[in-house]
């Protein structure tokens, strides 16, 4: 049985939600989207939502500061910053988010 928090919610799920919310906060502050982040799903394409290349660099730097990681060159690709989910996967890979 998965570990739960005080409210009986599985901890992993809770952590995932927190991380996603943190990512969403950083995205909303740095991605310069043309639509509010609240209108986008976790898999929505951020570039299609108005994020420019310059904004994606700002987002990358802000994510690095927030999660205390550094994206290696191999991960500096559009696909890494395409959506909240892809960002979360990259952060997991970098160890910036506890699995």
């Amino acid at each position: 049985m998965a570990p739960t928090n005080d409210n009986g919610v599985p901890r992993l799920v809770n952590q995932e939600l927190i991380v996603k919310e943190q990512i969403r906060t950083v995205v909303s502050e740095h991605a310069r989207l043309s639509v509010p982040i609240e209108e986008l799903g976790d898999d929505s394409d951020l570039f299609q939502a108005g994020m420019t290349s310059h904004a994606s660099v700002s987002l990358m730097l802000a994510l690095e500061e927030t999660f205390e990681v550094e994206f290696p060159e191999a991960l500096i690709r559009k696909s890494t910053f395409q959506s909240v989910t892809s960002i979360e996967h990259a952060l997991l890979e970098l160890g910036g988010v506890a699995a």
């Binding site: 420019t52 290349s53 310059h54 660099v57 060159e73 500096i76 690709r77």
Partner: protein, 589 residues
């Protein structure tokens, strides 16, 4: 012919400048690797001090170029002598960005510009630097001594951060393009690995002669990691760097000039005002020998036509053909071309014996506007006059010209060939579908023969998300459009160019090829012997940002130019009675 070699000119009456100014160009620094610069000063020749403007690097240089020009003009109008220049291996200066030991070369360039300013007789010299230019100015200040004021304008948080941000921008903008090993590629610039490592570890050395004062302008939340002003050991004034996002963090076509911040810089540098001295002396070195492809070529600045367009002529020591190559602006990029490609090609082609001229069309780069014309407008109707003026001013036979351009320049090159036959056209990623700026206040200029004005219909059509529907609609739309506007149909006007014996090379990516219309494009296949060659290159970036693509396109263009100018038989009179090109001194047949 209206060509002026004297590089000095009055900046003319400008409503935004409170006093008249004069501007001149010159080469300075080492004679074997000359630097190119501009000197702006009050028209009466008296100045209260000198200011050296240290530019940013890579694409930030491109975005800031026009702001630096305006800043220099406003400094001169406020009574100062302003020097703006290109670092060694950048802009119009000698050398290439991939040369070794760049950091030392850039710092030496600042020192040479400071010496130039100091030699003018001005009582003081200050520095202004933006982004990496600010860090380089800080380092140069520490080593140079006797600097009055230093303006650190939106400095990078560190050299390493600059490299990281810019290389990330390059990767994120291009994604699938391969990244070469052993070099660090930034948008518009390539550094070798040792230079990148050296830049990454750049620090401000111990200051021997602190500047009298420092103005530090930063974006909110973007304080430099290094205490720059503290390291310089000077009195510090802090302020906001307003408008930098809209200047640097946008596509070139969308940038906005941060006039408020520039006004702050001008007033800070002009205070206190010790009163002018003068006359200040600016040396003249109007031409330079530049190393190119194992030999040397000569470069000279020119003013073209009644508008006084700015250009640089690159002359071979041993001309092999009579044809002159004209290189046009790409969007509102300056005359250096996309990622400085025109500078590289002009020197390479001149070393092969071909005279080349890169120039700024009116209102772009370093050229003035024509009466009533707004600055920084891409695809302005005045560009027709600009190209015609250049042909008349620079060529004994205006038909003996090859015109080269990318994007809007590619479009204008094709229009130039249709307006009056010429020898050859090389158009890279020409855009034929756009909204001409004159439509904002009137009809389309009748000289536009191949432009397809973009309207709301096309926008609505693009919104159709379903690709198969879009494809079918596209074919139908183009079939109807080409029937209604036969003369604008690429197949029609390319035939006209064939009949006029114009050699045409069009290099474009898949998206740009659609400018020719899907239906028409299917029928535009050309054979080896055809005067019209269209090469569609899969994955070609519109602005040729990846270095390997610039190299590939440069090779294709050079090969085509050699074939057209050196190997081809002189064009014969054609059946349509088109003018025959002047005799070419072609060799190697």
């Amino acid at each position: 012919m209206s060509l002026v070699h004297a590089p000095e000119r009055a900046a003319g009456h400008r409503d935004d400048l409170k006093t008249p100014t004069t501007e001149s160009t010159l080469w300075f620094g080492p004679t074997d690797r000359p630097l190119f610069g501009w000197v702006h000063r009050p028209a009466d020749g008296r100045a209260i001090g000198a200011v050296v403007l240290c530019p940013p690097l890579a694409r930030e240089w491109t975005n800031a170029h026009y702001a630096y020009r305006l800043l220099a003009e406003h400094l001169a109008a406020a009574g100062m002598l302003a020097v703006r220049f290109d670092y060694d291996g950048t802009g119009d200066s000698a050398g290439e960005d991939g040369d070794p030991a760049r950091v030392a070369a850039w710092l030496a360039s600042i020192s040479a510009a400071v010496e130039l300013a100091r030699g003018s007789g001005c009582p003081s010299v200050s520095l202004v630097g933006m982004r990496m230019g600010a860090l380089l100015a800080a380092v140069a200040t520490a080593g140079t001594g006797s600097i009055d004021g230093v303006v650190l304008w939106d400095p990078c948080s560190s050299p390493r951060a600059f490299l990281r941000e810019q290389s990330a921008l390059h990767r994120l903008a291009l994604d699938d393009h391969p990244v070469a090993e052993g070099i660090v590629e930034l948008p518009g610039m390539v550094l070798d690995a040792p230079t990148a490592a050296e830049l990454s570890s750049l620090e401000i050395p111990e200051v021997r002669h602190p500047p009298a004062r420092v103005l530090l302008l930063t974006r909110p939340g973007r304080q430099p990691q290094v205490d720059l002003a503290g390291a310089l050991g000077a009195e510090i004034t802090e302020g906001p760097a307003l408008g930098q996002e809209r200047l640097l963090d946008v596509d070139l076509a969308e940038r906005e000039i941060p006039m408020e911040t520039m006004g702050h810089i001008v007033s800070w540098l002009a205070t206190p005002n010790p009163g002018p001295v003068g006359p200040v002396v600016v040396p003249r070195r109007e031409s330079a020998r530049i190393g190119a492809a194992g030999t040397s070529v000569t470069e000279q600045t020119v003013r073209i036509g009644p508008a006084g367009l700015f250009g640089i002529v690159t002359d071979p020591d041993d001309p092999r053909v009579s044809t002159t190559v004209l290189m046009l602006n790409s969007g509102n990029n300056s005359h250096v071309g996309p990622s400085r490609l025109w500078v590289d090609l002009a020197r390479r082609w001149a070393s092969m014996g071909v005279r080349c001229v890169r120039f700024d069309e009116s209102g772009l780069g370093d050229s003035p506007t024509r009466p009533g014309q707004a600055p920084q407008v891409i695809r302005a109707p005045e560009n027709f006059d600009d190209v015609e003026d250049a042909r008349r001013a620079l060529c004994a036979d205006p038909a003996d010209v090859a015109v080269v351009g990318l994007c809007s320049g590619g479009y204008q090159a094709l229009e130039a060939a249709l307006a009056r036959p010429l020898r050859a056209v090389c158009a890279i990623n020409p855009i034929l579908h756009f909204t001409p700026p004159e439509l904002a206040h009137g009809p389309m200029d009748p000289r536009r023969r191949i432009c397809w004005p973009v309207g709301s219909f096309v926008g609505a059509y693009r919104l159709l998300a379903v690709e198969p529907v879009r494809r079918q609609l596209s074919k139908a739309v183009w079939r109807v459009a080409h029937l209604l506007h036969r003369r604008r149909n690429p197949a029609e006007w390319l035939d006209r160019l064939r009949a006029e014996a114009v050699d045409v090379l069009i290099l474009c990516g898949v998206n740009e090829a659609r400018s020719f219309g899907v239906e028409a494009y299917d029928t535009l296949a050309t054979s080896d012997g055809d005067r019209v060659q269209i090469e569609v290159i899969e994955g070609l970036d519109h602005a040729l940002v990846p270095a390997w693509q610039r190299a590939d396109v440069a090779s294709r263009m050079t090969e085509h130019l050699e074939k057209v100018l050196f190997l081809a038989d002189p064009p014969a009179a054609n059946d349509a009675g088109a003018p025959v090109h002047g005799p070419s001194e072609a060799v190697g047949r």
